[in-house]
């Protein structure tokens, strides 16, 4: 292996390696590429002085620019908050009535509320807010705990059967499973409840069951759902006399609800959202229902 062998054609040295008579020229890196490489190195070394770079024992070089990911993002968040402040402060502090009366502000509430709803609420209540079995429809005028912005705000803050210490609590007991009602009583009361929203169901054949169910309802159910089964928003007892259902209004589902009980769960949003966000959503959800024909 000849070192320092010079190629007669180009006048360059070879690497000294040879493969079947083919030798490799020891050509230096092109000048342009080399200059670029040197510049990037200079840039990197200069950058060490501007941004946090080197560890030294129990601390590190903080850099002349004083940048830091955490303070940067915190500044950006505060920037975002002040961008939103013109309307968010109003939403957070003004009474609901005056916000609802201000169409310009409500347009902002609708677009911001739509974003918040998509990020936080849509997973359960659906992107269109129409809900599904187990998750109430928010676009209709039937409410478990009331549909005014104030009551919606309470529901958002406290949750239902949630971890919040002042959570709204609502439980439909398992009348069948916990043997508070006989099997026949469960069947009868389900027939009565089904007939409330399906008047056609009441025939000569079924009237006895429905009447027996009416008595069961009066003793076991009316305390929460009311004597006329129209529910009580103060305790989150649903209206059973209309055709809107949280879990389903067919006979089988009604029997399942009476037998096994129900205990829905709405998380608390008090810690997750700011006052302005909670109030924006309260207005948004109230407005969704109010805008329905």
């Amino acid at each position: 292996m000849a070192v320092n062998e010079r190629d007669p054609v180009t006048g360059r040295e070879t690497t000294g390696h040879e493969w079947n008579g083919i030798k490799e020229l020891d050509t230096p890196v092109p000048r342009g590429v080399l200059m670029f490489l040197i510049l990037t190195h200079i840039w990197a070394i200069a950058w060490w002085f501007f941004v946090p770079a080197w560890p030294i024992g129990t601390t590190y070089t903080k850099g002349l620019l004083g940048v830091d990911q955490q303070t940067t993002v915190e500044a950006r968040i505060i920037e975002g908050q002040s961008e939103r402040a013109p309307w968010a402060d109003r939403v957070a502090s003004e009474p609901y009535d005056s916000i609802l009366a201000d169409e310009g502000l409500m347009q902002t509430v609708r677009s911001a509320g739509d974003q918040l709803f998509g990020d936080n609420c849509a997973a359960c209540h659906g992107r269109d807010a129409r809900g599904r079995a187990g998750y109430p429809d928010l676009t209709d005028d039937d409410w478990l705990w009331g549909g005014e912005p104030e009551t919606i705000e309470q529901t958002l803050r406290l949750g239902i059967n949630a971890a919040h210490p002042e959570s709204r609590i609502a439980q439909m007991p398992a009348f069948g499973r916990d043997q508070m009602l006989e099997r026949t009583q469960v069947r009868d009361v389900a027939a009565y409840v089904f007939a409330l929203s399906n008047p056609d169901y009441s025939t000569e054949e079924t009237i006895d069951r429905i009447e027996a169910g009416r008595e069961v309802f009066a003793t076991s159910c009316a305390a929460c759902h009311g004597d006329n089964a129209e529910g009580m928003a103060e305790i989150g007892a649903p209206n059973l006399a209309d055709d809107r259902w949280v879990y389903g209004g067919d006979m089988e589902t009604i029997i399942a609800s009476v037998h096994g009980g129900r205990q829905g769960h709405m998380p608390t949003w008090d810690e997750r959202m700011t006052d302005a966000e909670i109030r924006t959503l309260s207005l948004y959800v109230h407005d969704l229902a109010a805008r329905q024909p």
Partner: protein, 250 residues
């Protein structure tokens, strides 16, 4: 002159190996070693609690099913992430994550603060068939988790392994691991009070999958998902994120 130096180095096998090792270890020396000497890289969080045995089992299932391939557990220091997911993740929040599950890809959303965001009922429905609750979801269904009984006989061993890695499990926690796993998912059982006694009153004891009589993998995974981001409230105290600090006295 530099050309001559490199030529000489290339021709010395041992010298070249040593030079490669020196160059390759710069990253480690600059990025890993300081974590042991610079205290401010990991924040203080005296309220930080360890995973309960049930949550740890759920975590193992999360690893086994490869959830980390599509879900990250790391809210970055970017405004849009903080506004969507909540305060950015702190190092201390992963203190007991061995191995860490930060992930680097989001086919699904970040899960660092998903704990408490949805109901147990929703998580179960979603894991059984994601399309039932999120029609546009492309996540696979994990219905079998609700049918698989959770293995608890080896839980003490899992806790012991975690302790060997520095997670402060006590002897009592290790001894009662299986019982605590059962108790956390059976609120009315005799084993339930021991869980809050050992892991703190803020520990959620609930029939996670809706069935208190049998301990399934669904219980474990939902318990784990519900605790994500809730082992400490350090992130709510230390950042200017819009969320207010949760007040335990409230």
């Amino acid at each position: 002159m530099p050309e001559f130096f490199h030529r000489k180095l290339e021709r010395s096998a041992i010298g070249f190996v040593l030079a490669i090792i020196a160059a390759a270890s710069v990253g480690g020396i600059v990025e890993i070693a300081p974590l042991f000497t610079i205290d401010e890289t990991v924040e203080e969080a005296p309220d930080m609690r360890v995973y309960t045995p049930l949550e740890l089992s759920g975590r193992n299932i999360y690893v086994r099913e490869g959830c980390y391939a599509c879900h990250s557990q790391m809210i970055r220091t970017l405004r849009d992430e903080v506004e969507r997911y909540g305060p950015y993740s702190l190092a201390v929040e992963s203190q007991y994550d061995r191995p860490m599950l930060w992930g680097s890809k989001r086919t699904g959303p970040d899960l660092a603060r998903v704990g408490g965001k949805y109901s147990d009922f929703w998580h179960v429905a979603h894991l059984i068939n994601p399309r039932d609750v999120v029609p546009e979801s492309n996540m696979p269904a994990y219905a079998f988790l609700a049918r698989n009984r959770l293995r608890t006989d080896d839980l003490s061993g899992h806790l012991r392994a975690q302790r060997a890695l520095g997670v402060p499990y006590t002897d009592e926690m290790i001894e009662n691991a299986g019982r605590d796993a059962y108790g956390q998912a059976a609120p009315d059982s005799a084993a339930a009070p021991g869980v809050t006694e050992r892991y703190g009153p803020a520990t959620t004891v609930s029939a996670f999958d809706g069935v208190a009589t049998q301990l399934t993998e669904m219980d474990a995974l939902v318990a784990y998902l519900q605790v994500l981001g809730r082992l400490t409230d350090a992130a709510y105290r230390d950042t200017a994120a819009p969320e207010e600090a949760p007040d335990p006295a409230e």
